[in-house]
């Protein structure tokens, strides 16, 4: 269980995170979405007590992170897979974590095996690891203390498609066994397949959150007409505006019945009328967070 309440972080006049609140319940995977620089990592660091918030609070299982005592036994954290001493071997990194948490040493080998790092890889220094291998090592470290909660910042970075598929299965399974997962990504497609809940953040603020299915349902319909010009007029008449999708359809924030009736009244021939689904969510994601990436790029 992760509870985030009115969390804010300012750097000078710049609000990196602005009044963010959400809850991650046991048995669910929450996808934390936003473009680069939206405040995802800052929020996660505040949850983990690494960055002091300007205001607001965050708890894990009802306790502020810094008062968890031995947090590794309750919550597995992977914030940056590259943040490891390049001169240590993979096995040594896990051994240090096991010693710190007071976990049996044999779990180190189990953990390495679970994430697919074999004995040869474990003996190599982290310097020689690819980003994908570092992510696996980080995940092994996060799982080492048998936690009930996982916080992962962009864990799919550097993983190959097979690795991403494997990780999805791992996280889904973790949640199905009563675990709580919060994972961030800047790619909707990446978390869509595994998340139950979505929290979308842009410019430090939560712009949308809720159950994935509800968000998908609320993302409107896609309609395609024989005469696109006439469709635009019909939509304008009932006070709706659409955005053209890549395949020539028009995404509209409305439901199928409204559009269907309006089209029938106008004698319009429709070629397609369907829920926008993830395409709509992606459209929403882009619209809601538009401009942030540009700002990030020029900063």
């Amino acid at each position: 269980m992760i509870t985030v309440e009115h969390l804010s972080k300012r750097y000078g006049a710049h609000p990196a995170v602005d009044d963010v609140s959400f809850t991650c319940a046991p048995g669910t995977v929450t996808g934390f979405l936003g473009p680069n620089g939206a405040g995802k990592s800052t929020t996660m660091r505040m949850i983990c007590g690494l960055t002091p918030p300007t205001s607001g609070s965050a708890t894990v299982d009802g306790v502020p992170y810094r008062r968890l005592g031995n947090p590794g036994r309750r919550i597995g954290v992977l914030l940056d897979a590259s943040a490891q001493h390049s001169g240590r071997t993979g096995r040594e990194v896990l051994t240090l974590a096991a010693l710190t948490m007071g976990v049996e040493r044999r779990r180190v080998s189990e953990s390495l095996e679970r994430v697919g790092l074999n004995a040869t890889a474990a003996k190599r220094r982290v310097k020689a690891y690819s980003l994908g291998m570092r992510q696996r090592l980080g995940l092994a470290c996060a799982l080492l203390g048998d936690p009930g909660v996982l916080i992962l910042d962009e864990p799919a970075n550097g993983l190959d498609p097979e690795g991403i598929f494997w990780m999805r299965g791992l996280l889904r399974d973790f949640a199905d066994r009563g675990g709580t997962v919060l994972l961030s990504s800047h790619l909707l497609r990446e978390v869509e397949a595994v998340a139950d809940q979505l929290v979308v953040i842009g410019g430090g603020r939560v712009v949308a959150q809720g159950a994935k299915d509800e968000l998908l349902a609320a993302s409107g319909v896609v309609v395609k007409a024989l005469d696109p010009g006439a469709l635009a007029m019909v939509l304008a008449r009932i006070g709706l505006t659409g955005t053209t999708t890549t395949d020539g359809g028009v995404a509209v924030q409305s439901n199928a019945e409204t559009i269907g009736r309006a089209a029938a009244d106008a004698g319009l021939v429709l070629l397609e009328l369907r829920p926008a689904g993830s395409g709509g969510l992606e459209q929403m994601f882009l619209t809601l967070t538009a401009g942030d990436s540009v700002k990030e790029a020029v900063r």
Partner: protein, 265 residues
């Protein structure tokens, strides 16, 4: 305790919400920090160089020193030189490595009580200084046995006071290194500052007459010299104490405050 079985198998619940997770004890953290001193390539090499250099000083003395000087205490004094120069570097890296290698992210995520982590690093530094003293003692003893065989002086006499003073000296410089590392948080800057600042201060003290009374109290290079001679006076301890406060205590305290406040990214 239940295990997370990620591979398909019986649905065992993850974690255990009722599990009690008391804070991580200082002893365990110290053990981890001791291990971290030697489990990287840089750390291991430093320790090996110290050991080889200590043996090297003994070999050089056996080869060139006059027979009268081939005694246990002189083997020990020279043998400790490499450690007194290089162990502080190990201390510096112990603190700065967390930031330069970004391991602070893992360290402080697993052990959020940062003051306890710093305390563990300081204790680990003291322990490694004492261990190096013990190891150098063994090397010096071996060298002295050889010296006796060569017809050297071979005296074993070593006052308890001198042992204590030597111990204090070794510990002071490791703690100074740890303090510089904690305060400056950057390996090259901390290493350069550790070696250059006290030297510059000593040179200034020697060049500028007006500074002389000040450096007599605040120049650790000067005030630590009596540590190598038996029978330190109260006044000498006093001057040492003052310079240790400036060069060791102040960096450790300020460095701890900085570490507690710094945002980990």
């Amino acid at each position: 305790m239940t295990a997370v079985q990620i591979a398909p198998g019986p649905a065992v619940a993850v974690g255990d919400p009722g599990r009690r997770t008391p804070g991580i004890g200082l002893a365990r953290l110290t053990l981890v920090e001791l291990r971290k001193l030697a489990d990287t390539r840089a750390g291991l090499w430093l320790l090996m160089v110290i050991g080889v250099a200590a043996a090297g000083t003994a070999a050089i003395q056996l080869a060139v020193s006059p027979d009268a000087e081939l005694r246990f205490d002189s083997f020990l004094q020279f043998g400790l030189l490499p450690a007194s120069v290089l162990l502080p570097v190990l201390g510096i890296l112990s603190m700065t490595g967390e930031w330069s290698q970004r391991t602070a992210l893992t360290t402080f995520t697993l052990a959020p009580a940062r003051n306890r982590v710093i305390a563990a690093k300081l204790i680990a530094g003291v322990l490694i200084a004492l261990a190096s003293l013990l190891a150098t003692g063994l090397i010096a003893a071996a060298a002295n046995l050889i010296a006796i065989g060569q017809g050297g002086n071979g005296s074993w006499s070593l006052g308890a006071a001198l042992v204590g003073q030597t111990m204090v000296g070794q510990v002071i410089f490791v703690l100074e290194g740890l303090g510089f590392g904690a305060l400056l948080m950057n390996s090259p800057v901390a290493i350069v500052a550790f070696f250059a600042l006290p030297t510059v201060w000593s040179i200034l003290g020697a060049m500028i007459k007006a500074l002389k009374p000040v450096t007599a109290w605040l120049d650790l290079n000067t005030t630590s010299i009596p540590l190598s001679e038996a029978g330190m006076t109260g006044g000498q301890w006093g001057r040492l104490g003052v310079s240790v406060a400036v060069w060791v205590l102040v960096p450790v305290v300020l460095g701890t405050m900085r570490t507690l406040r710094r945002e980990v990214a």
